[in-house]
Each structure stands twice: as C-alpha cells, then as structure tokens.
Symmetry: C2
Amino acid sequence: MAEKVTIATVARHARVSRQTVSNVLNSPHIVRQETRQRVEDAINALGYRANQAARQMRTGRSRLIAARIDPTRDGINGSVLDRFLHGLTETADAAGYRVLLYTATDDDREIATYGDLLGTYELDAFVLVGTKHGDPRTEWLADRDVPFVTFGRPWDALDAHPWVDVDGAAGTAQATRRLLDAGHRRIAFIGWPVGSGVGDDRRAGWRDALRAAGVDPTGLHRETEDGIAEGERLMHDLLATVAPSAVVCASDSLALGALQAIRGVDPPVSVIGFDDTPVAAAVGLTSVSQPLGEAAARCVDLLTGVLDGDHETPTPVLLQPSLALRHTA
Amino acid sequence: MAEKVTIATVARHARVSRQTVSNVLNSPHIVRQETRQRVEDAINALGYRANQAARQMRTGRSRLIAARIDPTRDGINGSVLDRFLHGLTETADAAGYRVLLYTATDDDREIATYGDLLGTYELDAFVLVGTKHGDPRTEWLADRDVPFVTFGRPWDALDAHPWVDVDGAAGTAQATRRLLDAGHRRIAFIGWPVGSGVGDDRRAGWRDALRAAGVDPTGLHRETEDGIAEGERLMHDLLATVAPSAVVCASDSLALGALQAIRGVDPPVSVIGFDDTPVAAAVGLTSVSQPLGEAAARCVDLLTGVLDGDHETPTPVLLQPSLALRHTA
DNA sequence: TCCAGAAACTTGAACGTTCCAATCCTGCCT
DNA sequence: AGGCAGGATTGGAACGTTCAAGTTTCTGGA
C-alpha cells in the first residue's frame, strides 16, 4: 500500500524543509535554483499533488467557481448555455480553477444557495448568465463583496460590476445590412416585448441599420414572447399586412416559426435568426453567432483579475458577434 | 466585522464542547435531546455552516462528484447531456453532493485529469456518459478503486461496474409497434453502423417488434454515420428501393433528414426519431424520449450507495423510455 | 447508600498546508 | 579576521474539523 504523498514526503526526499517545498510551489523565485531543481525532481518522482483542502484551510481560497445550470427552458436556445459552460470549464481549468454547478428554481433559493456554497465550500467566485432588471442576486453578491461576473450587461445603470456581453445590436445590424446589400428594402423584425434589455438591444440594431440606409422602419416590427408558434403567427401577420421581402428575428425559435410561415411563398422571403443554435445549423438557417467560447474565456479573465491581485476594477467586455451564413439569407 | 463562525463559536454559545457540536451534526442520536436542541438553536442563531475543507482534511471525503462536459458535438443531440447534467446537479445537491465539471479532448488527457482531480481535490466519484468498447477510462478507474457510474451500459461484458441506462431497444420497439398499430407494414429503420452498441440495440428493438408482428424486416434497414444530410440521403434511397410507409430512426438528426426527404411524398410517410431533442419538439417530430432526469437521479443513487456505506455492489438500472407523440407519427 | 455500567460529554491530537518569525549561510567590506 | 547585510532555509503555529481516548454524569439494582 503506497503511503500518501504529502509535502513532508517531498521534503524528506529532497532533503529540505516543508516550507521550502511550499516555496517552490508558491514563490519559486525566492528559492535557490539548485534547491528548486532538487525539489521539483522529487515532486515529479513521487507524483506529488498539493492537497487543495489543506491549502484552502490556510489561504481561505478554494479555486472553485460556481456556475448555474438551468432546467433547459424551451429548449432551442438551451444549447447556448451548454456551449458557454464548456468554454468556462476549459478556460477556468487553464487558469487553475474548477467549475462547480448549482441549480435553483427561483431567486430566493438561488441566493440561499450562494450562502451555502460560500459558507460550506468557500467558493471564490460566481458566474451569472443573464441578469434582469433590478436583479436581487447581483445586489446580494455585491453587498457581500463576493467576486462575480455576469454574462450579459447590467440593464440597471445603477451598480457597476464586471461583465461580459455580446453586442446584440451589432449582430442584428450586420444581419440587416447583409439583407440590404442583397437588395432587400422591406426588412421586417420579429422580437421580444419592449422592456427586455436584450430584446430592445437587438431591435435597435435592426432599426438603426435600416435608418442608416434611408429606410423607414415604421410598422415593420412585431413583438412577442419567444417561441416557434409565436414566430409563425407574427410572420403570417407580417405577410398579410406589410409583405416584407426579408425578416430578422431576435432568436432562432422565432426564426424557425417564420420559416414555417413562409413555406411556399414566392419569391422566397429571406430569414435570419439569432444565436446560431444547432437547430439553425440543422435547417440551414442563417443566424447571428455569438462567440460563446470567447465570452466564457473573458469571464474567467475578469474573475482571475479580481481574484489574483489586480485591485483595479476590471473593464467590461463587449464582444462582436458574426453572421453564420446558410441558405435562408 | 463579524468573526468567522466556526464549530468553536457554536460550542461556546451553546456551552458545550466542540465535539458535542460535531456529534449533533454527524451522529445526532448519541446526543441528549435537550443538549441537541440547544446546539441546534445556536447553529441557527449564528448561521453556522460546517467548513467543507476542514471536514475533508479529517475524513478524506470531498462530497464532490465529477462530470464531463463535452464540446457540443454535432449539436442536435448535445442537449441530451445538458438535461442530464441538470438532473445530476439537482439530485446530487439533495444528497449533499456537488457536481464539478471537467473537459478533455481525448482519453489520455481525460485520465490525466482524473489523476489531477483525485490528487488535488480528492473527488469522491465520477460520472461517465457513454462508454465505448474497451474503454481505457473505466479500466483506469476500476483499477484504482475509484467509485464511478456510467450512464450507458458497458458493452464489454468483461468488467461489471455500476451503470444506468435507458432501454433503447424497448424504445424503438415501442415506436415500431405504434406504427404497426396504425396499420403500417413496410416500416423501415435508419440507424448507425453495426458495431456501435447503442446503434445495434436500437435496431434490434425495431427488428424484433416487426418479427413479433409477423413482418419480415429484411432489406428494410439502412446504416450510416449520424447527421441530417445522411438521414436525408438514406431516406431517398429507401423511397426509391423499398418504398416504406413509415420509418424509425436511431436519432433525431437522422429523422430530421428523413423528414426533409419525404416532403411532398403522398401519402405521407410517418417518421419517428430518437432522443426527443428540442429540435424534435420544434418541428413536431414524434420521438423516443429518454427519462434523463430519472437516469441522473439513479446515477446519484448508485454512487451514494457505494460512498455512504453499502458494501454490496449496486444493481445496474435499466430505465424504460417513452414515446413523445407529435404529428409525424 | 453504594456501586457498576452505560450514557453523555470533553480533551488532546491529527489531517496537510501556508504564515510568521527565527536561524543559518554566503560573500563583502573594513 | 570580524562584522554585517541580505538571501536562503527552517521550525513552530494555526486554519476548522473529526477521531480516539478519556472523564463526568446519570440510572438502576443490591
């Protein structure tokens, strides 16, 4: 039975003290080159790995980051979270952190979970995906000086915390310009009800791009809750009223509905969705693609910046989306 | 500045020793009712939470379970993992465990990650999703007596470890019987190449259901790699050769391809997919639905069984899928 | 009333690491 | 040669918990 390899084992093997081994690990520069080499050899020979629990007891840092996994909402847009989490895990790993999952059914429970995770596991930071107007979660975390980032900018201008987001307006603007370039003039927009930050942002991109091209957007947009059926309904409405030759949608779900509504219409109506979900790839829907891996990486960057010393408040990051061109536009 | 609340704080407050507090937490039955009440009151009053790192140092148990998050493969079937992970997080939480994510690009790296996670974080167990023929990962874990479960039965009969799986054959059989009941006789099958355990299993369910109904399945099946384009290609082939009136597919991707191939065919060909992905729900595809939440829950059950005492090898679990009826069949 | 035995509770010690303060070198200056 | 500064290294203590082995308190039977 192999003895457990601790820092003491390494120390004995390299004929130095425990503290010197610890120094090789944490502040290599203060150890003489020759000694350091000897210790590193011992570490490799013995396959030593620093015990995180013991380390945590002294330092109070767990090198753990919490991220929430949702109960897959309507589904289509769910895979966004999936890809984001993967990116998070990958980048965090490279930075020496690990990702811990949690779920919650409402804000109160989520906050209770924060308390539990912080108290029991001493989590270092939280990553929140999507925040809403007057979010109690960010407030709770900020009040307690718990490091966190949000993927999604804060829609209340009130409190400024580190965030990473994708420029949705730039995405819909790009989509709209592509349609304009293709000769379209009557370009409609199907989006979410006014008041949702993300929805307003995406609509603004479409509107501004039209205006910049000298096209009046009045009457060309419709709003609804997300969903395929809703997208189909509103597209029928648009066809019957303003007869657009193209449409930009705030989500792939809406776009998919629109696609069903225009089946058989001639000349074909161009459709562009948002999020570049697997479904879009599957049905050949052109869609605005968010750089999710990049977004996750920047989240980790911001957090490690805060955690590993940098005392300055980190700068928010706004990433540019791209257009995944397929055959619907 | 509030002092950190430790077991000693609680002990002082309840006028008992540290150990008694510890006993209230871990073996309440050996503490006198009145004392226990006093301690519990103190715990609540102070908002005490046991520090996991310290606990781990003594017990060697981290109450952490590792699960892998994949770089979202083709996409459509990706959301299966998503839902499974959510279920895992939820059930693990209820059992007092937390889920830690990791990624890896190949088996060697994955095994290296196991070593790291075990050495550094002292993980309690692993959950593997999908194992292949002669999987080096299960072997490595078994050799070191690391507790683990696989979601997906072991296809090598060799070593028996705890597993949870969904009875794919039962799913395709159920789908096939539904089509038979609807009067279909020429029911085709589009699946994966022979040799993939999961694929063979799903094909067997279709074949056996046909035979049981006195229908000869010969010539009615096609095999290919997963993917929409492939599904479309093979469906065209089937239409041109055996002209089936219905088809059962091994995945929603294949089924989606089949749907595209039959567009306009009259009378309409019935299609049933597998996995009940968001895409299936979106396009109204009838599909075999795996009880993913249940599967995750049973994985946790098996693990906690092994971890919390039960010395008997736990029984594998085979769950029954159901049919999500929509309008393609 | 006393005592044995069980139940209830307490007290050091230990888990593996890092912090802190102290000691030991080494080379340089006088 | 002696003293000294500064780098390199060391040993004790502490983080918060549970284990193991104690000590005290209670219970009931003679």
